[in-house]
Symmetry: C2
Subunit: 451 residues, 2 copies
């Protein structure tokens, strides 16, 4: 399923590709090593200028990487003085082998054509290999700071990961859906929901596509969705966002939650493979190694997990320190950066959760921990209409606001389950980001609504 | 890039696939013709029961299609009486060749195991080949009515089309992005925007990712996004939705809008090819033929388009009747269901539109009409900072609310352009839907906020 990143430049017989970059006319920085001895035309941003006594080095940045341009002509050296960093230029010249140049080939005898007015000094020095600015500066000026090769890299990983998510599920005959983000009632949790004015009526932003994806199991059996979800999180932490990209899947005719865990394992494997195949340069730049994913992800029952970490057996949930300890156990005992915790107490799970048949204190649900932090939540759902009515009554909730959702189960639904996780959290754990905002394109939180 | 829809069942050596359906244990309806003489286990919804004097026919529906089950055993015939349409069951039996059965193979000697309680009578008769109910009924009961093979088909086409959109652009080295849907100001048009309470401050739902995708051209050169957009449309028409799925692309280092039109042509071609390859059964069910897309889509300048339809040369836009006439012209003269109209008057285009260099009354922008209705809008954008300041001033708008957006251009942006269109509109034209709500999963409009 892989296509090379620069398929475009390599298949010049296709007409749209010829036109787009008039194949052979624009050379990308990454292609320069193969063009020694040829006339080339590059285009990109002035990444860095370095004026020495007899020569000026210009580093040009384009989507593929960096290219070194060597300027010796005094008039051109003077002109370059005007082209501050981030000015967009075209450069024509000759590709020349030079073992000292990055990639072994540089551009000599250059002529520059500016495509914009000279740029002012950016809020951070984009040419510096390391990023020293604080997160608020980086986020406030994201339109420019994201151009830094290190700061854009997480979003290359995210694009690859989401492609891997879709490909894995498409290969398993799942159908992609897009469900509404404006919803009539704040049903799933009630709290932390954004309210909006919908033609004079109250409406809400969807906290998850949970109800819709279950409904669509009745139509397609197997569905997935990639889309934004919204949480009015009043917490200002390194882990919380008010808007994030949720990767959701749901499917029918399962035996129980174990079938869901199998699909989760395939999906995580497919995402990691896609990252390795599609974004190796970004992994390199970040110095990130792909995590250890054994053929079979280890698992622990929730009760055994509590015992393992020495917690009170009546604890209803795992504390962050417990999750870390379980993550360390999985790595130590099973050589795995991933571990399933299975059977979370019913009282901590949403009303549609399927209980563990032999002991209804526990549920047929699970979390997948990635390096000691919860990544995926999933499980088997109730599927019988009568069970939904009973679960809502037990939760002290009226059935009426759920009328449409319940219609799904009234007319026959197979045993089913699914899972969800945040794309940003996946990338954060992958690159070891301390703050989820580092891997979120234009994050939204308690304080931040722009850019 | 194509994988067969049932790859799952065909590659039983993969562990997750074995588990999911215990390959060979569950047979899909579409696989039945290949299983004559074997014992099979099917699972799905009771689509239809028909009791004759000595035999009852049960049609079972699963995600792959319909299977006929023949019941002769009197006790089983009686039991079947309880399993109303939409009850979910497992059926074991013997696959038997019968030239009269759909697909030539049916299931005999069946044993039924219900997976749900018997379902009540659905709001429409899902087993009837035609759909006679009115749109309000279909939409009110969408969780059930979408199960009808004709009503689910448009969403199979949509899933295929969106996959084709992504594959085409990924093949052209575009990077996928996800940008925020909660934004600080209602900048692009000001009108028709949903307002929400963002932690006590006003915020808005994004009407398009326009500003963000342009910004990201500065980072990745070529980007695309598939995501929801929100329009507080006060019009109750067959064409308007309050929320829809927007397919957006934007890219840099273009010569002008013609490079954008080339990519639009490739994308539309890729989407139609994907629909043909991935969803042939849905096309068949709907009796839809793929539209005529010539190697080169015909085009007309806006001024020539006005002349062609006999409109006043000072008209600022094309009326729906004009668009229809132009669509007929393209089909008649060029054998094309698609036609570009190029150069719309600047005064009708947004402030970031690039003027036509030789005559600034016109713009470097275009619409793509599909069967006489506007499908795609795109064009070249301004890229120089000074041009943005001048354009905002000419439009009588202050620069301050655009501060973040303008930062992008301040620090150097290449000549660039892009396009956008609604997934639902594409599917509506493809299947000839009279009302866009017929091809929208859970539509949102002036009156409708549920299901």
């Amino acid at each position: 399923m892989q296509r090379p990143v620069h398929a475009f430049e390599q298949t010049s017989e296709q007409s749209s590709e010829q036109t787009l970059e008039q194949a052979g006319v624009r050379t990308l920085a990454a292609e320069l090593p193969a063009r020694a001895g040829e006339d080339v035309r590059l285009a990109g941003w002035i990444h860095r200028r370095r004026r020495l006594a007899s020569v000026t080095f210009v580093v040009l940045r384009d989507r593929s990487g960096l290219a070194q341009v060597v300027v010796r002509d005094p008039a051109t050296v003077e002109r370059i003085e005007e082209y501050a960093e981030e000015t967009v230029v075209e450069v024509t010249g000759k590709a020349v082998a030079n073992p000292q140049a990055p990639g072994g080939v540089e551009v000599g005898e250059p002529a520059f054509t500016p495509l914009t007015d000279p740029a002012p000094t950016p809020p951070i020095e984009l040419w510096r290999p390391a990023v020293n600015a604080g997160l608020p500066t980086l986020l406030d000026h994201a339109p420019v700071t994201l151009r830094h090769p290190l700061l854009r890299a997480p979003f290359e990983l995210a694009a690859a990961a989401v492609a891997g998510f879709r490909e894995t599920l498409t290969g398993l005959a799942f159908t992609e859906i897009q469900t509404p983000k404006i919803v009539a009632s704040a049903t799933e949790s009630g709290a932390n929901v954004f309210k909006l004015d919908y033609f004079g009526r109250p409406a809400y932003l969807a906290q998850s596509p949970q109800f819709y994806k279950q409904t669509m199991v009745g139509v397609f059996e197997r569905v997935f969705e990639v889309g934004p979800v919204f949480r009015a999180e009043p917490h200002d932490t390194v882990r919380h966002l008010a808007e994030y990209v949720s990767l959701d899947a749901e499917f029918g005719f399962v035996r129980d939650h174990r079938d869901v865990m199998e699909v989760v394992s395939s999906v995580v494997g497919g995402m990691l493979a896609a990252v390795g195949e599609r974004a190796p340069a970004a992994l390199d730049r970040l110095g990130v190694e792909l995590p250890k994913l054994p053929p079979r992800i280890p698992e622990l029952h929730f009760a055994d997990a509590l015992a393992l970490v020495g917690a009170d057996p009546d604890e209803p949930d795992l504390a962050p320190a417990h999750e870390r300890a379980i993550g360390e156990w999985a790595l130590r005992e099973h050589g795995s950066d991933f571990v399933f915790v299975v059977g979370y107490p019913m009282r901590k799970r949403p009303f549609y959760t399927h209980p563990q048949p032999d002991d209804p204190r526990w549920s047929n649900s699970f979390d997948l921990l990635f390096r000691g932090v919860e990544l995926v939540t999933g499980g088997q759902r109730l599927h019988r209409y009568a069970d939904y009515l009973a679960a809502l009554e037990a939760a002290g909730q009226p059935a009426e606001p759920y009328a449409t959702y319940l219609e799904t189960f009234r007319y026959g639904m197979p045993p089913h389950g699914g899972f969800a996780f945040g794309l940003e959290r996946f990338v954060a754990r992958l690159v070891g980001a301390e703050n989820i905002r580092q891997v979120t394109l234009f994050p939204r939180d308690l304080h931040r609504l722009a850019p």
